[in-house]
Symmetry: C2
Subunit: 219 residues, 2 copies
Amino acid sequence: MIRFEEELTLLQNHLLEMAGRVKSSIHKSMRCLIERDRSLILEVLADEEHINELEIRIDSLATRLVALNQPVAVDMRLIIAALKINTDLERMGDLAVSIVQRASELLERPPLEQMVPVAEEATLVEAMVEDSIAAFIDRDAQLAHQVLLADDRVDLLRNEIYESLATRMEADGHAVRRALPLLVIARNLERIADHATNVAEDVIFLVRGVDVRHRREQP
Amino acid sequence: MIRFEEELTLLQNHLLEMAGRVKSSIHKSMRCLIERDRSLILEVLADEEHINELEIRIDSLATRLVALNQPVAVDMRLIIAALKINTDLERMGDLAVSIVQRASELLERPPLEQMVPVAEEATLVEAMVEDSIAAFIDRDAQLAHQVLLADDRVDLLRNEIYESLATRMEADGHAVRRALPLLVIARNLERIADHATNVAEDVIFLVRGVDVRHRREQP
C-alpha cells in the first residue's frame, strides 16, 4: 500500500493539473472572443470533458484517502480544502464553456466598443485564478488576501460594463443582440472571480485555521 | 462524549434547518418581485445572515465528526454529501439576495408582461429545491432523478424568456431598464435550479454509490 503522504501529494498534483487545465481553458475562451478565432471553441469543449474527468478522479481519491486512513486534523483540513477547490475549479471550466458559447454568437456580428473593458476584466480575473492557485500551492495566506481584494475591483468593473451596455441598448435596438451576450460574458468572468475568491478563502482556512467566509469586512 | 450516531443526526437536522431557511428565502424573494412588496427585501437579507451562520456551523460540525471519529465508508459518504449540499444551499441563499436586489430596481417601474413566464420558472425551481431536499431526507434516488429531468425544463423556459426579453428590448429602448433586471432574475432562478441539481446528484451518489455527474445523458 502506498503511504498516506504520497497519496496526499498525488491529490495535490491532480489538483494542480486540473487548475492548469482550467486556467488555460479560461484564457482560450477569451482569446476566442477577442481574436475572433472559432477554432478555440472545440478546444474549450474538449478541455471541459477532461476537467470533468479530473474532478471525479480527485473526489474519489480524496474520499478514499479519508475512508482508508485516519487523517489527523491538519491533513483532514487539507483534504476538505482539496474537495472544495476541486468543485470551484470544475465550475470555472463550465463558465469557460459558457463564454465560448456566447462568443460564438458574437463572432457573427461586428464587435462592440465595450469589448475593451471586458478584456480588461478578463485580465484581472485570470490573475485572480492564477494567484488563488499559487496561494494554495505555497500556503500563502497573504496572497490569498490579495485575491479577496481583487474581487472588489472586478465587481466595480463589471458594474461599469453593465451600465455602459445598458445605455448602448437603450440608444440602439440593433445593438441588443451584440450587447446581451457580452453582458453574459462579463457576468461569467465575475463568477469565475467569485470561485477564485472561494479558493482563496479555503487557503486562508487551511493556513490559519480561520474561516473568513461571510466576514470579509474584518479580514 | 455524545455518540457518533447522534452527531450524525444533528448534522442532518442542521442541514434541514438550513434547507428550510433557504427555501423560504427564495420564495420571499419572488413574492417581493411579484407582489411588489418591498418589506420582503430586509427579510431576505436577514435570512442570508442566518444561512451564512448555519453554513459555517455545519461545515465545522462535519469536519469535527470526521476528525474525532473514524467514519466507515457509508458514513463518510454521508458527511461528504452533507458538506457539498451545505455549499449548494448557501449559494442558493446568495441568489435569493441577488433576486431581491434586482426586484428592488424593478419595483420603481411598471412590470413587463414577461413577469408571467419568470413566475412560472420560479414555481418549477422552487419545486426542484423542495424535491432535492426531500430526496436527501428520504434517500430517494428516484425523486432525485426527477429533479435532473426538471432542470432541462427550466433551461428551456429560461431560453424562451431570454428570447422574449431580447426581442422586447430591440423593439423599445425604454424597456431595457425593466428587461435587464428581469433577465438577471431568470438567470438566477436557473442557477438555483443548477444547485438543486447538484444536491440531487449528491443524493444519487449517496444512495447508489454512483457518480452521475457529467453523464446525465446515460442515467
